[in-house]
Amino acid sequence: MSDPRELYQQVILEHNKKPRNFGKLEPCTHYAHGLNPLCGDDIEVSLVVEDGIVKDVKFQGHGCAISQASSSLMTVNVKGKPVHEAEIMVEQFREMIRGKLDPATEPHSLGKLTLFQGVKDLPSRVKCAVLPWATLHSALEGKDDASTE
């Protein structure tokens, strides 16, 4: 296992402390509530999508630094993007966390999100990092709930 200090880098700690786009959009066009029943992490994602573009996105809820920072960085990265690009990021983020996409050698559009790469060596934390993305995916699919199980 990698040293958890490699994962708890400044950017992640900072986003945990001061999450961006925290709150709930009302009204919104898309919404989902994500739960991790194993640990109780709880995240709500709301979006305003217009003409196939994510005009605005917010999240709220509680969870560990990994899930909070993952949520915060997710909102920063998908805001202003076309929905299909956001969906590609969901897929690439999941693949990276599962160790199936190596951002150093394979093409991707994850940008700063590669900071979460270290989670793949902490199997018990994979679901923490993925929960906001699973919730975003559910919201975009028109389902109103998501679960890591």
Binding site: P4, Y8, C39, G40, D41, H62, G63, A65, L122
Partner: protein, 424 residues
Amino acid sequence: MSENKSSTDEHGWTPIKDGALDVAAIRADFPLLNTPFHGKQMVYLDSAVSGQVPQPVIDRMDHYQRFEHTNVHRGVSTLSQEATDRFEEAREKVRGFLNAASSKEIIWTRGTTEAINLVAQSWGRANVQAGDEILLSAMEHHANIVPWQMLAQERGAKICVIPMNDAGELILDDLDTLITPRTKIIGLIHVSNVLGTINPVKEIIAKAHAKGVPVLVDGAQSVPHMTVDVQDLDADFFVFSGHKLSGPTGIGVLYGKKALLEKMPPWHGGGSMILSVSWEKTTYIGLPGKFEAGTPAITQAIGLGAAIDYLQGIGVDNIAAYEHELLNYATEQLSKIEGLRIIGNARKKASVVSFVLDGIHPHDVGSILDHDGVVVRAGHHCAQPVMKRMGVPATTRASFAYYNTREDVDALVGGILKVKGIFG
């Protein structure tokens, strides 16, 4: 005790030195505690999730599996008779351990959860009707909530709750009004798996009985820490799991008063629990077999018997006294950490300490401690209503057993200081 160790008495048990436990000798019995973990000495502070298993218990199961095994309660072979004897001896050990009046009152289950489901579905379906009430405490584990909710939904009954205060003690002032003429049963956790609170179950049972209401006591977290006498408590049902008691998983116990168990219909049907079967009608055998359909967890039952022998060899009262000292030391040391708040400050506690750190989520605490070889549990501990009552989404929990030491507490404290360092 294990063969490679000399500090045992003539019965093979670790002797108690000067009123304290010989913890070094005890620890030598636990292979897992002596195996490097992330390259470090394992500091196992998660016995409330599952106790570690000592070598004599592993050896007993290994011996049974190698040389004594076949099915029980079947056939006339000597092998089957002897396997049955070993299996029934384990039941008798449980009877003695709980001081039950009869081994017929000891039903094997897969664990605490299955034992509660058995009572909820067999006793519950026979006794709970629409409009009835099931009274539970505010600090129950999901295992003593969900089976009753399922029954309540099926029957149109209602779940009522005995509240608790901020320290994590049940508020019993209004117990007499909480027990109404519609109350059919009370489900009560003996020791809280989150808060460590030791509940005054004997007092609550006496009040319930004064109104004719039976009580089920969830003893999963009490039997590892204290001597339990079901007759003294006057518990109607008492349930626990083998794996919290340094025994194997897959085995647990339902104790029930004979008069209650005899009136209850069988739960699972199948082989072993029948007197005769025809296409027209099946008749059932008596206790305890009536509730034990199919081939039981024989190896595990024998393993649980060996775990009881092991604990009684050390002395459950000695364990309780030792763990109490360890709890006091841990509480004192953890309280010195700035920004740390202990969740659960009851006057009577078993050796379980839940805590939160300002601005740092328990999962992050758990992950970083894990890297240092300190194993704790982080999360809601299968007790979401307790989390909600205490106003926290989750806690980090350290739970101490008779094989833990002050050095383990120090390692925990060191780990927490490191977490604080990382999070600034």
